[in-house]
Subunit: 250 residues, 2 copies
C-alpha cells in the first residue's frame, strides 16, 4: 500500500559521499509528478545532511590553551658571558609551558636607533643563536623593523644592541616579531591530521572576538599542546593566559 | 524526440528562492529510474546555485579604509583651561578622517597608579566630557583597567590624573579602550542594509590575517566611511593606515 517502493542507489553527486550505497525509494505507477517532487525534497535535504557530515569528518576541531608571550630574549652562552661575565650561568625563576624552557631572573636592556627598552626578560636555556622577540608595538618604541618570523629563522632580520650589567653586545641579526604558532606532540598532530609546518585557524569568542588565520603548527615530541601569541595579539583579542580557544584545521 | 518534456514548477524547498517559478523537465514514458536519477543531480546542483545567489543577495560586502588610532585624549573646555590656562583654545595641526575632528599641537601627561605616560595627543574640538582612549597595552603601563567601550559611554569607567603645562586635573571617569567601529553616512548604511548600532565582520588578508567580528556600525550624516581600530588591533593584524579591508554584514 506504500506510495514508494525501495531500490538500491549509488550516487556520484557532489552532495553525497561518493561510492557509498544509499537505500532510496522510487515512484511506482501513481502520480509521477508528486512522487518526483517529493523525491527532490528528500534528495536535496538528505544530500545536504550527508555533505555536512563529510565536512565534520574532514575538519578536525580541538581546544588549545593560550600562552601570551611578552617581549623576551634568548641568548647564546657567548653572549650571556659577554653581558654577565665569564662563566656566568642563567638563574631559573619559573618553568615555561614548553618542557626545558624557563624564565630567568636576569633581564637586559635593548638599545635601538630610536630608544632603549630596559627589563627585557631572558628565557633559558642558552641557545646556539641569540634571538630577540618583540611585539610590533615594542618595535616602534626602539626603532627597529623586524619581520614576522618563525622562531629560529633569523636570516635578514635586523640586529640591536643589548646591554647587561657586565657588558654590551651588538647583535648583527636576530630581532623578530614571532609568528603565532601552536606547539604539539606527534601523537596530537596525528590525532588532528596535522603535520609540522601546517597552518590552522583559531576562533576567538567575546566582544573583541574574531579569528586568527595561518597559525603555524610546530610538532615535536618534547612539546606541550599550547598556542603562543604575542602581547599585541593577546590585547587585540582581549585574551587571558590559559584561556581555551577552538582550533580548526579548515 | 526529446527525453524530457517541459513543465512549470513552483518550489517551496529551502534550497530554492521561494515563490519563484522555475521551468524544469520531467520524465515522460521512458526509463523512469534514469529520468529520476538525472533529475536529482539537476535539482541538487541547480538548488545549490540558487541558494548561493540568495546568500550573495542577503550578505552585503564592501571595502572600507582602516584608520589606526594611537592613544589620545578628548578634553572639555573646562579641563583645557585647567591644564593650559584660562581662555585657552586648542591649536589644530591636522584634520582627521571624520569631518570637524582634528589633531592638536598640544599633548598632556597621564599619571596612573603604576606609571606615567607623557606626550598623549589631544584631539579637538573640545567635548562635553573628557575621554581618554588607550590601547590595552597602554593600560598595563600606567595601571588602569578600563573596559572596552563605545566612545561616549563612560559610566563606571576608571579615571586618571592628567597633567598639562599650567595645571593638573583628576578625571573621576573617562578612560576607555575604544571598541572597534566603522563610521558611515545614512546613505552608505542604507546601501549596505545596515543601521546605527549594527555589528559587522571585517576580514584581514596576509600572514597575520584573520577576522575582526562584532565591529560596531556608527551612522551619522557628518561621518566619512572609515574603520577605526586601536594600535593593538593594527599591530596584531599587521595593518597599515589607509589599507582597504573587506566588510561583510554576515
Amino acid at each position: 500500500m506504500s506510495f514508494f517502493d525501495e531500490m538500491e542507489y549509488t550516487t556520484s553527486n557532489a552532495l553525497f559521499v561518493p561510492n557509498r550505497k544509499y537505500k532510496f525509494r522510487v515512484a511506482q505507477g501513481a502520480d509521477k509528478v508528486n512522487a518526483w517532487r517529493t523525491s527532490q525534497v528528500f534528495f536535496i535535504l538528505f544530500g545536504s545532511i550527508l555533505s555536512n557530515r563529510e565536512v565534520d569528518e574532514i575538519m578536525a576541531s580541538f581546544k588549545v590553551s593560550v600562552g601570551i608571550s611578552n617581549r623576551h630574549i634568548h641568548l647564546s652562552q657567548e653572549h650571556i658571558e659577554a653581558l654577565f661575565g665569564p662563566g656566568y650561568t642563567l638563574t631559573k625563576t619559573k618553568d615555561l609551558s614548553q618542557p626545558g624552557q624557563f624564565a630567568c631572573e636576569e633581564t637586559v636592556t635593548l638599545i635601538g636607533p630610536k630608544g632603549t627598552m630596559p627589563g627585557v626578560r631572558i628565557l633559558g636555556p642558552a641557545r646556539k643563536a641569540s634571538q630577540v622577540e618583540l611585539s610590533a608595538t615594542d618595535t616602534f618604541k626602539i626603532g627597529v623593523k623586524p619581520p614576522v618570523r618563525d622562531s629560529g629563522k633569523l636570516e635578514e632580520t635586523p640586529g640591536v644592541d643589548v646591554e647587561g650589567p657586565k657588558g654590551r653586545v651588538h647583535l648583527d641579526q636576530g630581532v623578530i616579531v614571532a609568528a603565532r604558532h601552536i606547539h604539539m606532540t606527534p601523537e596530537e598532530a596525528a590525532e588532528y591530521s596535522l603535520k609540522d609546518g601546517d597552518h590552522v585557524r583559531v576562533a576567538v569568542p567575546g566582544p573583541r572576538g574574531g579569528s586568527l588565520d595561518h597559525v603555524l603548527v610546530r610538532v615535536n615530541s618534547n612539546y606541550e599542546l599550547d598556542l603562543h601569541l604575542d602581547t599585541d595579539e593577546g590585547n587585540a583579542f582581549g585574551l587571558k593566559n590559559g584561556q581555551q580557544l577552538e582550533v580548526s584545521t579548515d
